[in-house]
């Protein structure tokens, strides 16, 4: 979710639909809203209201410096984790 916000601010509907469209990511898109609000509480994202071209103003989410740091940490961890799993899996395939 933070990675999704790394380049641009998005509004809730957009974030949720994008993640929901990725196969195997989420079961209920609605559960992503509590996650967003948790990220906000943790200071990883911030919100601003923007006028939309159609309808009422929308709440846009953007990543904070704290969020960027958390994302960078996560990417490092994730790479390490997938590399470890890959090496075990390939060893298993050989053996």
């Amino acid at each position: 979710m933070l990675a999704l916000l790394a380049d641009e601010e998005r509004y809730g509907f957009d974030i949720v639909r994008t993640l929901g469209a990725i196969d195997g990511m989420v079961t209920g898109e609605g559960t992503l809203y509590p996650l967003l609000s948790r990220l906000k509480k943790a200071g990883h994202v911030s919100t601003t209201w923007r006028e939309s071209d159609a309808g009422p103003p929308r709440k846009y989410y953007g990543i904070t410096p704290d969020g960027r740091r958390a994302l960078a940490d996560f990417i490092v961890e994730w790479r390490r984790f997938t590399a470890a799993v890959d090496s075990i899996l390939s060893r298993g395939a050989q053996g």
Partner: protein, 207 residues
């Protein structure tokens, strides 16, 4: 324009969410409802068919699941065990400060608190209605009503339920039966209170 508030399916979904979200603290509930309402507003275009709306709602998932995802937020999801729980137990056990009134306030506090399960609330309500004020007051009448060698029935009323106890006091073990009853009447509510006190603490800590 067909918006959230006018589309019956979306309105029904929001009502369900609202009902499920009652367990959340106020600010969190309002925020969640606003987000989902916005989602529906953005997702339901004026030319959306019923199938479109149903798909959008299916993708969101059941409202109960959304609320469940919002819940495990540490201590904010459930309040700490506080004076409400302590007062509830004291009033339920003693029935003070006033006969029946104290117990009824205790009962209301018991039912109001989110820290107890339905079973625990039932236990608190049933052991024993009226509190000490009623049960002890009634049981103290027992030995008076049955002299040695008598066979009599002592009835106590608690909340409209009439409990009749056959008091047959023979030559020996004169007051054994009433004493036993008194002990149970004194100990059981205390045990109930201790149990519920710890249950509330555990519930708040695990939230």
């Amino acid at each position: 324009m067909m918006t959230t508030s006018t589309h019956p399916l979306a309105a029904g979904y929001l009502r369900r969410l609202e009902r499920a979200a009652r367990v959340l603290p106020r600010p969190q509930r309002d925020e969640l409802l606003a987000e989902i309402r916005e989602h529906l507003d953005a997702g339901i275009t004026p030319d959306a068919t019923e199938a479109d709306v149903r798909n959008l709602l299916d993708d969101l998932g059941p409202p109960e699941a959304i609320v469940a995802a919002a819940r495990p937020e540490g201590a904010t999801a459930l309040p700490e065990r506080g004076p409400r729980e302590v007062f509830a137990l004291i009033m339920l056990v003693t029935g003070l400060p006033m006969i029946l009134v104290g117990w009824c306030i205790g009962l209301a506090l018991l039912l109001w608190s989110p820290l107890w399960t339905v079973r625990q609330k039932l236990l608190g309500a049933l052991v024993f209605p009226g509190g000490y004020v009623v049960t002890l007051g009634a049981s103290l009448l027992m030995p008076v009503g049955s002299g040695p060698g008598d066979t009599s029935e002592v009835c106590t009323t608690a909340d409209g339920i009439i409990n009749c106890v056959d008091v047959s006091s023979g030559s020996d073990g004169l007051y054994l039966w009433p004493i036993l009853v008194v002990v149970v009447l004194v100990v059981a509510p205390l045990a109930m209170a201790v149990h519920l006190y710890h249950a509330a603490g555990r519930r708040a800590a695990n939230a």
